[in-house]
């Protein structure tokens, strides 16, 4: 569904000076000065310790004091629990109000009621400087937020607006799904077990991977398989004599590559029946002395032969929109259980990219179609299309903006909680004429590094275009050894770059089985071509991208996109539009 919210109530950063009751006299309208203002004026203000009445001369000193005296590191704790701005504020107010011990605070998990309570959004101490400082490496969400006092007021408005939206949405969902009937259907005789059974998001998931066809599709996805092959077979220093864990091995192809690359031991784990096939395949290729297939969920298994830690974890866990099907949670669990310190995750990094897209072809085929079906108007069927992400392939010329990274996942350190996220985006239009935008597009780029470290900023992903030969030279074909590339070829000359292996699922690349994920807009908007007015200006679309696991099925995703458009020449962003989608 799509709701339009008034700009004032939802954009804390845009209501400067107009919000009544807030001190705005010291504000400077130049955005560039915010940083200075925060660090100079806020951090230097006297701040009370969290656990006693002692007042320290600055926030930093107060935090250091709490860390040294009470063993509580606020920033570290927030990072550990992946607390967003609001949860951090609630935590601080909670501590100020109820005076718990530092140990009691340290034992919080982030799931407690206090982290969602409105009560703790109200500052306990007047003008508490601690509420106004963000950790420096504050990541995804709301990096551009400013005055906390105003934030809180705006936040409260936003909260009540959101509550209303939720209530409306619930009513709508209830009406659309005919919940009472559904409940009646579930409770009908023959279908009942007296108590509600624990939800099982897994069975269908694992069963669905038993059929061969899906594996054929995945293996035949040459971009995918050849990139993995290229990385594994061209990094002998990483794989030679290494102990490797393959999470969600499927038919075992990645394990076979690892064995070929010289791994000492490879453990291939899969919870679906395909594991039996993987075992046969390993045997058929005489690699069963190296590769051991383990059937089970990686959360439950133990490694044989007393091996506790592995050097490398390889996994092809990516789903539609990267996170659909949430196999990543299992991979991260495997990392925490089995990867030795300094071990390498392959892939090591994945970025989710958002851009504007001309999806008119998809829209014509899937939306307009319903307007006239044998003379009947079935357009009600198209209504739902705006509530669901559409997985489809669009061509390279459909991009209407530069992409912006909405999530950068470093597989070595990310925690499952960080997979639910909100991040801000700014999309610079690249259109050459007035153009209608009818969709956002989401895709991902994946990187492999030999040391498991993130790639340097600005690293370009390798895009395999339609006409490019796919790097297939790394394995012998028909028993012949692979031809060696000469050093004069592009791989040899760019030594640095060859250490990074990557692929993209974006429209620029030849299609992968992941395709791209489209979010059709209920209300398409117009953007203009860029122009030179002293310097180059173009239309921009800014907003927030929310992505959380569905409450009803953890393998599905709920996505919300909040956006506003500013065309060149306009002095402020337009009204904010919010649209919600399910990825399923």
């Amino acid at each position: 569904m799509s709701v339009r919210l008034s700009q004032r109530s939802t954009l804390p950063e845009d209501d400067s000076g107009s919000e009544e009751g807030t001190a705005s006299s010291e504000e400077d309208n130049e955005e560039e000065t915010w940083d200075d203002w925060v660090s100079d004026s806020m951090e230097q203000r006297a701040c009370r310790s969290l656990f006693e009445d002692k007042v320290l001369p600055s926030v930093q000193e107060a935090l250091a004091y709490d860390k040294g005296t009470h063993g509580f590191d606020l920033d570290g704790f927030c990072a550990q629990l992946s607390l967003d701005t609001y949860r951090r504020i609630r935590l601080i107010n909670f501590v100020r109000k109820t005076n718990p011990t530092s140990a009691a605070v340290g034992a919080l998990t982030g799931a407690e009621e206090l982290f969602s309570s409105d009560e703790y959004l109200h500052p306990v101490l007047e003008d508490d400087p601690l509420l106004q400082i963000q950790p420096e490496d504050w990541s995804d969400s709301d990096a551009d937020d400013t005055d906390p006092a105003k934030r809180i007021i705006a936040l409260e408005k936003r909260l009540s607006a959101a509550k209303q939206d939720l209530a409306d949405y619930r009513a709508l969902v209830s009406k659309q799904l005919d919940i009472p009937t559904l409940i009646a259907a579930v409770n009908e005789p023959g279908n009942i077990s007296q108590s509600a059974p624990a939800r099982d998001d897994d069975s269908h998931y694992f069963q669905s991977y038993e059929a061969n066809d899906i594996h054929a599709v995945m293996i035949q996805d040459k971009v995918r398989t050849s990139t993995y092959a290229h990385f594994i077979l061209t990094n002998p220093s990483l794989f030679h004599d290494a102990v490797v864990l393959d999470v969600g091995c499927g038919t075992g192809i990645l394990s076979l590559f690892a064995a070929k690359a010289g791994a000492k031991r490879v453990f291939a784990v899969d919870a679906s029946d395909i594991a039996e096939k993987a075992e046969k395949i390993v045997k058929a290729n005489d690699l069963d002395s190296i590769v051991t297939v383990i059937r089970g969920k990686v959360e439950d298994i133990t490694l044989p032969e007393g091996i506790e830690k592995v050097d490398v974890i390889i996994s092809e866990w990516m789903g539609y929109a990267l996170l659909y099907e949430s196999m990543l949670d299992s991979v991260l669990r495997a990392r925490d259980r089995f990867l030795r310190p300094g071990g390498v995750m392959a892939p090591s990094q994945s970025k989710m990219l958002l851009a504007l897209c001309d999806a008119s072809e998809v829209s014509k085929e899937r939306v307009d179609f319903w307007n006239d079906v044998y003379g009947f108007d079935l357009s009600i069927m198209a209504h739902d299309l705006y509530d669901e992400a559409i997985v489809d392939v669009v061509g390279p010329h459909t991009l209407l903006s530069e992409p912006d990274t909405v999530k950068d996942l470093h597989l070595g350190v990310i925690t499952p909680r960080q997979l639910d996220f909100v991040s801000s985006f700014k999309l610079l239009c690249t259109v050459e004429r007035r153009t209608k935008v009818n969709s956002f597009i989401l895709y991902f780029d994946t990187f492999f590094t030999a040391d498991g470290q993130p790639v340097p900023d600005g690293t370009e992903v390798k895009v395999i275009r339609e006409s490019d030969p796919i790097v297939a030279e790394v394995w012998p074909v028909g028993g012949r050894p692979a031809p060696q590339r000469r050093t004069s070829s592009s791989f040899g000359t760019q030594v640095e770059l060859s250490k990074i292996t990557s692929f993209s699922t974006g429209p620029q690349s030849i299609p992968t089985h992941w395709k791209q994920t489209l979010f059709l807009l209920r209300e398409p908007f117009i953007v203009n071509e860029g122009a030179f007015v002293f310097h180059f200006v173009c239309s921009t679309v800014t907003g927030h991208f929310h992505c959380v696991k569905s409450k009803t099925n953890s393998r599905e995703l709920d996505v919300e996109i909040h956006y506003s458009v500013r065309n060149e020449g306009e002095t402020q962003d337009g009204a904010i539009t919010v649209q919600m989608y399910k990825v399923r």
């Binding site: 005919d178 009937t181 559904l182 259907a185 579930v186 009908e188 939800r199 099982d200 998001d201 069975s203 269908h204 998931y205 069963q207 669905s208 991977y209 059929a211 061969n212 066809d213 899906i214 594996h215 054929a216 599709v217 293996i219 035949q220 398989t225 050849s226 092959a229 038919t251 192809i253 076979l256 070929k260 096939k277 046969k280 395949i281 058929a284 290729n285 789903g319 539609y320 099907e325 179609f369 319903w370 079906v373 044998y374 009947f376 079935l378 069927m381 198209a382 299309l385 559409i390 997985v391 489809d392 394995w475 012998p476 074909v477 089985h513 009803t552 099925n553 393998r555 599905e556 399923r584």
Partner: protein
């Protein structure tokens, strides 16, 4: 995005059930809730066009009648019936006045009428019977259809032929012999047992077709859906055979001009395509040679939406071969 079919070309990744926990039986009912599948079916102009001709061009059959639409989906057939002058149309699966929609499974639903003059349904699945709603239609017939009432469609026939399919077999089956340099042949046997839903060109057909099953909807019983049928296929040219091919025809014999359509390789594309059954070895046929054998079809004992299909075949002077397939 996806549908709930067997191995089709566009079947990429599986869908999750949306809510609650579902058995695969429930999943079936739910998979139709996805509009993608309705879209594909409605865009199948052969299918929808045939139903339209059969209904809208036969006002004399529908005028003033009560009509039950079994498994109505988007309700397009119900709307055709309303347009053809039906007094009242009940879609068993919401529209006002003449069209009442009842959501739920037909077996568990009480309908606002006791008897109907006409049942319309689009119940056919891949290979006619895979995930088909035919048993529901037969049940609806026995429970709700007036004596001498009409069923749209009223006849279905299943055919088999043999085809030359070297290139696709290479891609779909022999592919497993060498996967990025590794031996995956143990998957090959399993891959062979999964019938492939795909479109086949007419020129690939090497033999005459043979009718293996005729279903008269007015008289068929549920038991008739488990059957063994003999076949004999005569080669029309010298060629190699890599697979058997099955398809079905549908007719509305009660209509004035006998509307019918075919899903065969000679006919216009439908979303049912055809169904390919690869043989383990390649058969060599000369013009006039015969392949004799039989095809048996039964719902799987554990999941009655799956089909167990066995094909036994023999070329004159050679050993008999028997392969079991499973559509799931």
């Amino acid at each position: 995005m996806d549908n709930a079919g067997p191995s089709t070309n566009h079947h990429v990744a599986p869908k999750e059930p949306s809510a609650l926990d579902m058995t695969s039986r429930d999943y079936y009912a739910d998979s139709y809730a996805h509009f993608g599948i309705h879209e594909e079916m409605l865009k199948d102009s052969v299918r929808t066009g045939s139903y339209r001709s059969a209904i809208v061009n036969n006002v004399h059959l529908f005028k003033g009648k009560t009509v039950l639409d079994v498994g109505c989906g988007t309700g397009i057939l119900s709307m055709f019936a309303a347009k053809a002058g039906a007094k009242h149309v009940v879609g068993a699966n919401g529209f006002k006045d003449t069209i009442t929609l009842v959501k739920g499974k037909l077996e568990e639903t009480e309908l606002p009428f006791q008897e109907f003059d006409i049942i319309i349904s689009e119940w056919m699945g891949y290979f006619l019977l895979y995930e088909s709603m035919l048993d529901t239609v037969l049940l609806a017939r026995d429970k709700y259809l007036k004596k001498d009432g009409l069923i749209f469609p009223d006849n279905a026939t299943l055919y088999i032929a043999a085809i030359e399919d070297q290139d696709y077999k290479e891609e779909k089956i022999n592919f497993w012999d060498n996967v990025y340099g590794f031996d995956y042949s143990c998957i090959k046997d399993i891959a062979l047992r999964e019938p492939l839903v795909d479109t086949v060109e007419l020129k690939a057909v090497v033999t005459d077709p043979c009718l293996i099953k005729h279903i008269d909807l007015r008289t068929a019983k549920k038991e008739d859906l488990t059957f063994v049928a003999p076949f004999s296929l005569t080669a029309t040219r010298d060629d190699y055979v890599h697979a058997f091919l099955a398809w079905f025809d549908i007719s509305f014999d009660c209509t004035h001009k006998k509307v019918k359509f075919s899903t065969g390789p000679h006919a216009q594309y439908t979303h049912w395509k055809q169904t390919v059954f690869y043989t383990p070895s390649t058969l060599r046929l000369s013009q006039g040679d015969k392949i004799t054998g039989s095809l048996s079809c039964a719902p799987n004992a554990r999941n009655n939406r799956d089909l167990d299909i066995t094909i036994t075949h023999k070329v004159e002077g050679e050993e008999e071969t028997k392969i079991q397939y499973k559509m799931s």
